[in-house]
Every structure is written in structure tokens, then in C-alpha cells.
């Protein structure tokens, strides 16, 4: 499968949020307003791309080379946690404007299962280096897309009169279900 199809698949047909259920917590929690959703999406895309690049190297040159693959989860989660911390410090020092916008979302990314999920899928599918980088970036773009679409819909829904038991979580999940249904319409785009 070419790089282009990897990208299209992860953004549209196999969207991390709507197909693999990864990153549902921020998807349900943060996506109340457009700007916040977009900021969260960009910050996550950034971390995901870096995670894909770094974990690929760790997996290939350390874990596989020394036959210690059982350390996969421990080392991946450590990489992600330190990466998030590093990105935070870097932005604070060199790009204070960007830090102002993204800062509050960064710590939340460590527990975003989409980031760890990305690393695990990458290993499972045995992508090479370039493919992994594209996959990581695409996953971030797909996550941003889902978050922004959801934020737009929720902005409208909040003004409607929703039946009592559905308020909050119920209606959000229902909307997510309809979105997932809509995204199934893309399924013919990528040849299998």
C-alpha cells in the first residue's frame, strides 16, 4: 500500500476516533468549542508525528535488536510521557506564542490512548520508517478532523432542547455514532 493510501486510510476510512475508538476521552471532553478543539488537534498531531518517528527507531534498533520486545509497553509509554514534557519545555522556551495557545492541552496528551495506540498499530503493521512517519502525521490529522467536526455539531446542539436523560454524554455519543456512520461512506476510497 502506497504512502498516499496510508494517509487517506488513517484520516478518513479508518479514522482513529471514529473507527478504532482511540482518543475518545478528549473527543468527548474537550470538543465543546471550535478553537479549543483545533488547538488540541494540532498539539496532538505534533506529538503523534514525533512519537511515530521515535518509537519506530526504538523498536527497530533497541527492542528488536536486543530481543527485549516484552519491554514494548513500558518503553513506549515512557517515551510518550517524556516527549510530551520535552515538547512542553521546548515550546515554552523558544516559541512562547505557540505555547500560550497549546500549553494547556499538552499534559493531557500523555493519557490520550490514541498516541500509544499509534505506536502499537505501527509495530503490528510492520511499517517502515517513512510509512510510520506518514501514519503518525495522518493519525493526528484524522484526530483533528474528528474533533473539529464534533465541536461544530456540539455548538449547534447545545442550543436545542434535548430529552433529560440524553443531556451531556448521551447525546454526544449519539452524534459520534452518526458521524461514524457518515465516515463509513468513505470506505470505498482505499483499495484493500
Amino acid at each position: 500500500m502506497g504512502l498516499f493510501f496510508i494517509f487517506v486510510a488513517i484520516v478518513l476510512t479508518q479514522n482513529f476516533v471514529l473507527h478504532y475508538f482511540l482518543g475518545i476521552c478528549p473527543f468527548l471532553g474537550v470538543s465543546d468549542e471550535m478553537e479549543g478543539a483545533f488547538g488540541m488537534g494540532i498539539a496532538t498531531t505534533f506529538v503523534m508525528t514525533l512519537t511515530a518517528i521515535i518509537t519506530w527507531n526504538i523498536n527497530t534498533f533497541i527492542l528488536k535488536a536486543f530481543n527485549v520486545e516484552f519491554l514494548e509497553y513500558v518503553s513506549f509509554i515512557l517515551v510518550i510521557a517524556s516527549l510530551v514534557q520535552l515538547v512542553e519545555m521546548f515550546l515554552k522556551k523558544y516559541l512562547p506564542e505557540l505555547y500560550e495557545t497549546l500549553g494547556i492541552y499538552l499534559p493531557l496528551i500523555t493519557t490520550n490512548c490514541a498516541v500509544l495506540g499509534l505506536a502499537l498499530f505501527m509495530v503490528l503493521r510492520e511499517y517502515n520508517f517513512v510509512e510510520s512517519a506518514v501514519f503518525g502525521f495522518g493519525a493526528g490529522v484524522g484526530f483533528t478532523l474528528a474533533l473539529v467536526v464534533m465541536a461544530g455539531i456540539r455548538g449547534e446542539i447545545n442550543e436545542e432542547d434535548i430529552p433529560e436523560p440524553f443531556r451531556g454524554t448521551g447525546i454526544t455519543l449519539l452524534v459520534a455514532g452518526l458521524l461514524a456512520l457518515a465516515f463509513m461512506g468513505f470506505s470505498g476510497l482505499v483499495p484493500t
Binding site: L18, H19, Y20, F21, L22, G23, I24, C25, L28, F70, L71, E72, Y73, V74, I77, L78, A81, S82, T110, T111, N112, C113, V115, L116, G117, L120, F121, L124, P163, E164, P165, F166, R167, G168, T169, G170, I171, T172, L173, L174, A176, G177, L178, A180, L181, M184
Partner: protein, 194 residues
């Protein structure tokens, strides 16, 4: 003491009330048995890491506590993954990458941060057991409902009879979201909260 245990099962149910741990809840509940095994695996990690963290709570420096929690949790998840692979390989391959994703299940880190890192071992054990049972309950209900409407069976036993035409949407992502949405609404209606 009893309260620590019971609250997780109904009043503060991690899935229906706190809306935590959504990824595994939605992803693996295509059948009752998958939901049950995921729930039990998560409960094991929750209880084991709760005990470890509660026992070590005075030794872990505050600045690096999240990283330390993550390493402890990830170690127990590795144990579960290896056990599943060795003893129940079919279920392990069905759960796929969602089994290792227990590491980032927010219920686990949430309980460590909110409870185990502050309370003694005994209370922490009850708390994590209660939360674990609440999680299993939610996963089993959702898995059962989805399996029933998908192919008319519960836990592999035929319930609706051979006339039932299978409904593929129930095991697809859209079905997962919609059934959980209806269950959450039902739960709110029944418990009369919110």
C-alpha cells in the same frame, strides 16, 4: 469501608457515570465474552497497580509520580498480555492492540491519582475492586446487548431463535456509539441522577 467498595459499582460507575475508559468500552464489546475478558484484565491491572502504588505512596516523589504510576501500570499490563497470550490465545488475538492499551485506560490512572496515592492499602484495595467490578458490569451489559442485536445470541447461546436476521451495524463502530449512548441515557433515567 463498605462505601469505598460499593460506590464504583453503581453510583460512581466508571463507564456510565464518570465516562472514563471509553476506548476499550467501545472497541472490544462486540460480544459478551470479549467484554468480560477485557473487564477482568482491566480489573486485575487496576487492583494490582492500586496495591503497589498505595504501598509505595510515601516513597514516590511528587514531581515524578505520573511517570512512576505509568511504569507500574505498564509493567502489570505486560504481565496480563503475556498471561493471555499463553493461556487464552484466541481471546488475546481478538482483543489485539486494545489489551496493551489498558496502560492508557483513564480509569486506572484516575484511581491511582485520586485514591491509591493518598489512602492506605486496605481502602485502596476495596476502591479498585469496586471500580473494577463496575467496569466489568458495564462492559458485560454493553457486550451482551450488542451481541444480542447482532446475531441474536448472548454469550454464544441462541436467545432469539433462528428467524433473527443478523444486524451487522451492531458490531461496527456506529453501533457501538449508539448502543452506549442509549445505555447511558437509560442509566441516568434509572438512577434518577442529572
Amino acid at each position: 469501608m463498605i462505601k469505598d467498595f460499593v460506590k464504583g459499582i453503581w453510583r460512581e460507575n466508571p463507564v456510565f457515570v464518570q465516562v472514563l475508559g471509553m476506548c476499550p468500552t467501545l472497541a472490544v464489546t462486540t460480544s459478551l465474552i470479549n467484554g468480560l475478558s477485557m473487564g477482568l484484565a482491566t480489573t486485575f491491572v487496576l487492583v494490582a497497580s492500586g496495591l503497589a502504588i498505595s504501598a509505595l505512596r510515601k516513597l514516590i516523589p511528587d514531581q515524578v509520580r505520573i511517570a512512576s504510576f505509568m511504569i507500574i501500570i505498564a509493567s502489570f499490563v505486560t504481565v496480563v498480555k503475556l498471561l493471555f497470550e499463553a493461556h487464552i490465545p484466541e481471546i488475546s488475538s481478538q482483543l489485539g492492540p486494545y489489551l496493551p492499551l489498558i496502560v492508557t485506560n483513564c480509569i486506572i490512572l484516575g484511581r491511582q491519582e485520586a485514591f491509591a496515592s493518598k489512602e492506605p492499602v486496605g481502602r485502596s484495595l476495596l476502591d479498585s475492586l469496586g471500580m473494577g467490578i463496575g467496569f466489568v458490569f458495564a462492559l458485560v451489559v454493553l457486550g451482551g446487548v450488542r451481541e444480542l442485536f447482532y446475531q441474536g445470541t448472548i454469550g454464544g447461546f441462541e436467545v432469539l431463535g433462528s428467524w433473527y436476521k443478523s444486524m451487522v451495524i451492531m458490531v461496527q463502530p456506529a453501533g457501538a456509539f449508539i448502543s452506549l449512548s442509549l445505555l447511558v441515557a437509560l442509566f441516568h433515567k434509572l438512577s434518577g441522577s442529572e
